[in-house]
Structures are given as C-alpha cells and as structure tokens.
C-alpha cells in the first residue's frame, strides 16, 4: 500500500527566501511523526505544500499515492489539516461551521460525527456560540474538529497546542492517540519537545529549511545525548579520576556517559561497587538535549 504521506526532494521558495531545501521523508500508517525546528525553519511551509495552500517549486508530494498537484481532489479527501494560525469565521456558530465544512467534503448528513467531535473536544456547551465568541483555545479545538469531520486517514497538525491550557493539551493528545489506534497517521509540529518525545515514534529536525536529522525518537536520544550519572561516596576522602567525569561538588561526583557505555562498565572502570556509593542518580537524555545538540552542530557547520 502507498504510504500515507511521501515527501520527496521538496523545495519551496518565497521570492528570494529559500524556505524548504530538498526535504524528503515518509510517514508510515498509524504513525505519529514530529516535524521539529526553531521558528522559521520551514515546518509550516512544508505543511502548506502538502495541503496545496502553496505550490512546491520542486519535488513530489503524495498522499496515499495521490500526487497533491496532479490528483488534488483524491488527496484532499484523505487528509485533514489544523493550521497554525487561528481562523475566525465571521457569521457562523461552531456547529454551523462544522456542517458547512462537511458539505465541502460532500457529506450531507454528518450530525452524528459532528456531535461526536464536539463532545470529544469539549465544545458541546459552546456549539451555538459564534466563533468570535469562543476563546483562543476553543477556537483551536474547533479547528481540530473541522479537520476531522470527514474522517481523514492523515492528519496534519501545525502547532495544535500553542496557546492551549494543560488540561486541553492532555485531552487533545489522548484524542490523537486514539486516532492513531484507529490507524490514522499524524504529522505534527510543536515547540514542546517533551510532548514530541512522548508522542512521536519518529521525528525530523529542520533547520533553515534543511532536514538535518530524521529517525526514531528513541534512537536520536541515545545517539545524540548522554546519561547523567551522579553519586556520593561513602568514603568521602577517596579520590576518583575518569575522563567522563564532569564535576565534583561537595563529594558529589557527576558523569556524562554515552548510551554505548552501561553503568556497570562505568563502575567497573572506577573500581567501585554499589556498596561504595550512596544516593545514586541517573538522568536520561531528552529529546530536547538531542535537539539542542543538533542545532548547535548545524550552526557550527554553517559558519
């Protein structure tokens, strides 16, 4: 079966700005994929090309095998899109918006689905309010509901949690995980890297329009970050020397060890046993650390 999304050698220029430079990646069915990068990295530009709001200058984009420029209609039925910027909609109520939006997908009687979405996204009490009477977070939820009226198999979320409170963020992610269980593939961008680490099986990291890293979230962390191991010695007079030691503070010894080295190895090299130490702490590396590392490296390469 064709992959839910295939982006190949995508290039997008705005006049003189090269926003996206030769980016390629694919989504697998039922996968949550995170597109990460600092402001202006090109995330929104890539998504805009996928949903046909922008035309790519070069490259190929396919949604379930349908080329988005050649077979736009077929592709559009398959995908739902939550834009980064809020939309206001002058005259209509939340429920009307969803009805109209269903109509654009040729779904006439969509009441059941619409009510389901209003409920799931906590909009039920607000369904008769005009969109401009909704708060920012509610507008965001309405955008998510809108993206889902036609039961798309590919969901594109451009910073869906910006300006959204913790509770909703959690319920939103829970909902996204449910969709994933149903086999929906999700492409999301976010600046909250803990969220991405928790949700995404794979991530791609963008910097200045180039995809500088692509891989499993877990692999990225083990490849690019270190574990931080720290302990105190029972015999506080004992001296310890090791190349991976970074600090010593009030008899607290701190090490940064790569994931290739196990803690057992470290202890062996130090000729220590668990009996010699107290208060052992192990801090795993995070996606945020990996992300930071990548960006610094990228900056140095491009100096």
């Amino acid at each position: 079966m064709a992959p839910p999304l295939k982006v190949q050698n995508l290039v997008k220029n705005y006049n003189k700005v090269q926003a996206v430079k030769n980016v390629s990646f694919e989504l697998q069915p039922g996968e949550i994929f995170g597109l990460l990068g600092p402001n202006g990295a090109g995330k929104t530009s890539i998504i805009s090309c996928i949903v046909t709001l922008e035309t790519p200058n070069e490259g190929l984009i396919e949604v379930f095998g349908h080329d988005v420029t050649q077979q736009a209609k077929a592709a559009k039925y398959k995908m739902g899109f939550v834009p980064q910027e809020l939309i206001h909609h002058g005259f209509f109520s939340a429920e009307e918006i969803l009805e109209i939006h269903s109509g654009y997908y040729c779904i006439v009687n969509n009441r059941e689905r619409i009510h389901y979405l209003l409920n799931e996204l906590g909009l039920w009490e607000h369904k008769d309010k005009k969109v401009r009477q909704l708060s920012g977070g509610m507008k965001r939820r309405l955008l998510v509901a809108k993206a889902l009226v036609h039961e798309p198999r590919l969901l594109l979320l451009d910073e869906p949690t910006a300006g959204v409170d913790i509770e909703l963020r959690e319920s939103l992610w829970k909902f996204v995980c449910e969709l994933k269980k149903e086999g929906v593939s999700v492409l999301l961008t976010t600046h909250y890297l803990e969220e991405a680490e928790e949700l995404c099986q794979r991530v791609g990291v963008l910097s200045h329009g180039r995809l500088i890293k692509l891989g499993e979230t877990h692999d990225l962390i083990t490849e690019l970050t270190h574990r931080r191991v720290s302990f105190s010695l029972k015999n506080s007079l004992k001296k310890i020397h090791h190349e991976l030691k970074t600090e010593e503070l009030n008899n607290r010894h701190i090490f940064n060890i790569p994931y290739t080295k196990s803690i057992e190895e470290l202890f062996n090299e130090l000729s220590l046993g668990l009996g010699d130490v107290t208060d052992l702490k192990i801090q795993e590396g995070s996606l945020e650390d990996a992300f930071r590392y990548l960006l610094v490296e990228d900056m140095e390469e491009n100096k």
Binding site: L53, G103, Y104, Y105, K146
Partner: protein
C-alpha cells in the same frame, strides 16, 4: 463530466453564501430600497420633467430599467467580492483550497450567490419604480419582453459576481479593491447608459461607449422592459455572453494562481 459529488459541494458553498447575506438582511433589502427611491425621486421625477428623450417614453420609465440593472450589477459584485475579502481577513478562505471543492464549483457558487442577491435588489428596485410610476401615470409599467429581461439580468448578475471574485482574489489591500470599484466599475456603470441614451452624447463618446460591455447589458434590460434601446438585441446578446465567458476565463486563471492565505 459533472459528478454528483461536485454538485453537492458546490451547493454547500452556495448555501453558505445565502446564509451569509441572510445574516445581513438589512443591508440587502433596506439599502437598495432607500437608494433606488432617492434616484427615482431626484432623477426620475424632479429633474425628469425637463428631460425629453426622442420617442414617447417618459424619463421615469427610461431610468427604471437602468436602475434595476445597476442594482443587480453592483450587488452581485459586492456580494462575491466581500465574501472573498472577508474570507481573506478571517482566514477561512483557505478552507476552499484545502477541501475538495474545485475551481468551477467555487466560481459557480459565488456567481449564483451574487446573482441571487442581485436579483433581490433588482426586484426591490423594480417594485419601488412601479410605485413611483403608478403615482404619476396611474398605471403600471408593463414588461414588454420578459424573456429578454430575464436573460440579461441573469447574465449580467453572473458576470459581475464573477468579476467581484476576480478582483477580490487579485487585490492585496483594501485600497486596491476600492480603487477598482471607484475608478473602473462606477464610471463604466454610469457611462453604460443608466441615465441617458447614446443620442444625448457627443459622437466621440458615443463611439467610445460602444466598447463598454455594460452599455449592452443595461440596454439589454431596457430592451426587455421597454421594448426599445440603443443597441440591437443580437449585439446585446453576443456582447453579454462574450463578456461572461471572458470574466469566467479570467476567474479560472486567477483561482489557479491566487493565494488563499490570510492578509
């Protein structure tokens, strides 16, 4: 080939257009009621007494078709252009691009939306005109060729709605939008013979006016209501349909090129 799906999504957009101006019903009904009454009062009755056209048609009867068509054209244009512009403002214009609506569906939905509003306004204007006419002449103004009237009103309303769409997609600022309207449209409408016949004009202007498509649309309606006009039926038909095809083609081009993103 036209598929059922396409008709469905088109009807939804048309329905949305209707709902949209239904929510501003005062503007839709009251405004034309007032403006057409003013025009009829000032031009049709007060000044009209001193204006004598060739032939035996009273000036009041002469301007009623012109005012009807002016209402149709202006409102068809306004409706589709404000619909697009407000979509650019709120950001929901992009919904038209990301959903499976095709270019033809978008154009037809907005064209019919504009036409519908134009017809309401045109109808009201005609109604007000009849009241004035009855007061003065003690009889109603009869429509000589209803079929012609219908054809020209419809083709004019559709063309102007489509034109509103083109301009609104093209415009990058409000200034550009109002510039088109005040420097191009309004002059063309006024010079298109709403208030005067070609015979009243200097020969140079007469010759120039022949290139104004609005002259044919407005005189087509006059032909429908009064049975006589400055242009022949055939030339009015040819120019009107040609004009519609022309703006439709431009609209297709501009939809393919246009940006649907927010201002």
């Amino acid at each position: 080939m036209i598929k059922k799906r396409d008709i469905l999504s088109f009807s939804m957009l048309y329905y949305k257009e209707l709902r949209r101006f239904n929510k501003v019903v005062i503007q839709t009904v009251l405004t034309p009621l007032i403006t057409s009454s003013l025009y009829l009062l000032i031009f049709g009755i007060s000044l009209g007494k001193n204006i004598h056209l060739l032939g035996d048609i009273p000036y009041l009867a002469f301007i009623i078709p012109g005012l009807v068509m002016m209402g149709v054209l202006n409102n068809a244009y306004q409706n589709s252009s404000t619909s697009i512009i407000s979509g650019k403002f709120s950001g929901d214009l992009q919904d038209l691009k990301i959903t499976p609506l095709g270019d033809h569906q978008i154009i037809w939905a907005l064209a019919l939306g504009g036409l519908t509003r134009g017809l309401i306004v045109g109808g009201i204007t005609f109604f007000v005109g009849q009241i004035f006419y009855y007061q003065i002449y003690d009889k109603f103004l009869l429509i000589v060729h209803p079929l012609y009237l219908v054809i020209f009103v419809i083709i004019g309303g559709l063309s102007f709605a489509v034109m509103g769409l083109c301009v609104a997609f093209w415009a990058r600022t409000f200034d550009q939008l109002s510039a088109i309207s005040s420097f191009i449209l309004t002059p063309l409408i006024y010079l298109g013979g709403v208030f005067f016949t070609l015979e009243n004009l200097h020969p140079t202007w007469q010759a120039l006016s022949k290139f104004n498509p609005l002259l044919y649309l407005i005189n087509g309606v006059r032909l429908g209501i009064l049975g006589q006009s400055d242009v022949s039926l055939n030339s009015a038909l040819v120019v009107s349909f040609g004009f519609f095809l022309f703006v439709y083609f431009i609209a297709l081009r501009s939809l393919q090129k246009a940006s649907f993103s927010r201002w």
